[in-house]
Point group: C2
Chain length 251, copies 2
């Protein structure tokens, strides 16, 4: 088969690779596996001996609280490595779930560790990736900590749209997002009912549409404003076209 190495796409989205680097990546043994929607990929307490890249699908990181409720801590899109942390942190401290059918590319820690020793530039890029993860976590804490419901949900939509866009998976302010309102509730720390009402309000304000696993942003500037959104924390690679705002602007 002609399929290129899954890690190649990830690196090449941000870096221009040397021949040696490309070779080193291609030589890294990977094992593709498929996980069905709503299955756990990793559990709190696990001690994985390999990390994986999300090749295709939507996953999330979560923890369960006292009342048995679940808090979603991050959404993982293709080209993310949700469990890179386990490379140097033995014990898993949260769960990882497949929200849709997911294709994963596993790399053993042994191989990955050696890879990092030998490919210093790429190693630093991976380290940086985990740092961005932490940055997103910080912003999420701000989100649940001090934004009210409407802004909180708007903020989440901003983040997801921008990340999907960076992956080339958003067209004209629309992208596929196989999330239910219950999922969004768990990500924002709002109740399911309140989530519903907040989304209705966002629709009423003509900022977004969200239905049947599809998100459309009608008024990016308006959404950004109600969300108090600043994209810095995502540390996204600079966009090709000059304006940084995707989708339509306000009339």
């Amino acid at each position: 088969m002609n399929t290129s190495h899954p890690l190649l796409a990830k690196f090449e989205r941000s870096l221009t690779l040397t021949g040696a680097e490309r070779d080193a990546i291609n030589v890294l043994p990977v094992r593709l596996e498929v996980v069905k929607a709503d299955q756990a990929i990793l559990r709190e307490g696990d001690r994985p001996k390999r990390s994986f890249l999300l090749v295709e699908g939507l996953a999330c990181n979560s923890k369960v609280g006292p009342n048995g409720k679940r808090q979603i801590l991050a959404f993982h899109l293709p080209e993310d490595m949700p469990d890179l942390a386990s490379l140097y942190l033995d014990l898993r401290d949260s769960d990882t779930w497949a929200m849709t059918n997911c294709t994963l590319a596993f790399v053993s820690h042994r191989d990955l560790d050696r890879f990092c020793d030998e490919q210093r530039r790429l190693s630093k890029f991976l380290w940086r990736d985990t740092l961005i993860n932490a940055s997103v976590h910080r912003e999420w804490t701000v989100n649940v900590g001090l934004r009210e419901g409407l802004a909180r949900m708007a903020h989440l939509f901003c983040e997801l749209m921008l990340r999907m866009r960076a992956l080339g998976r958003a067209k004209d302010g629309t992208c596929d997002l196989a999330l239910t309102q219950a999922d969004l509730a768990e990500a924002t720390g709002l109740s399911q009912v309140h989530t519903n009402r907040v989304i209705q309000e966002l629709r009423r304000l003509e900022l977004i549409s969200f239905a049947r696993g599809q998100l459309t942003v009608h008024d990016w500037d308006g959404l950004v404003e109600t969300a108090d959104f600043r994209a810095d924390y995502l540390h996204l690679p600079p966009v090709d076209r000059p304006e940084s705002a995707p989708g339509a602007r306000r009339a």
Copy 2:
């Protein structure tokens, strides 16, 4: 002067260093600086060219939200490196404040980068440090996202006590913590008034004392229970004495 290298203490708390490693650390140029209480050490938007180790004092990481309110995202205790992320992430995405007078040991990114290339084991340890940071962020999101006020505050006290203890800075369930109730409010996402009431409740339950910058845990097990606290996320080094619980147990 006879003072040893500030980084030495950090590494040696968790690792047994080889002679070469110790030499490499000792050779790493550091610059000590002092920052007064309530001064900003770093600001969102900064592009630092050096990282620092907190030698002495109490600092925090924070962001300001829409309403101008501040969310504290992490407390930093001695031996922490609050800004290690800037080594591979140019743009600072949050503020760092000195909460007390702080002594900082700065290392230039240039030196630190080379150090990481040459000292692979220590580099991985530093990477791991940033991963633990991310883990703490996740738990904080859970804290504000789905624990109610009382549990939330209790959880914060558990974390701080355990971390102070790991540094050998807690005796008999008591440690110095120069935090005001306003600080705690900003860390938990509660209002100042509610924070006050929650702390009173924790006192009434005879779980803790907290006054004049000093925290005492009277009933560790009780505090852990009301906090729904599990220490895994801190990834603390294994404790010397068998029982992991500090302070007095319930009667």
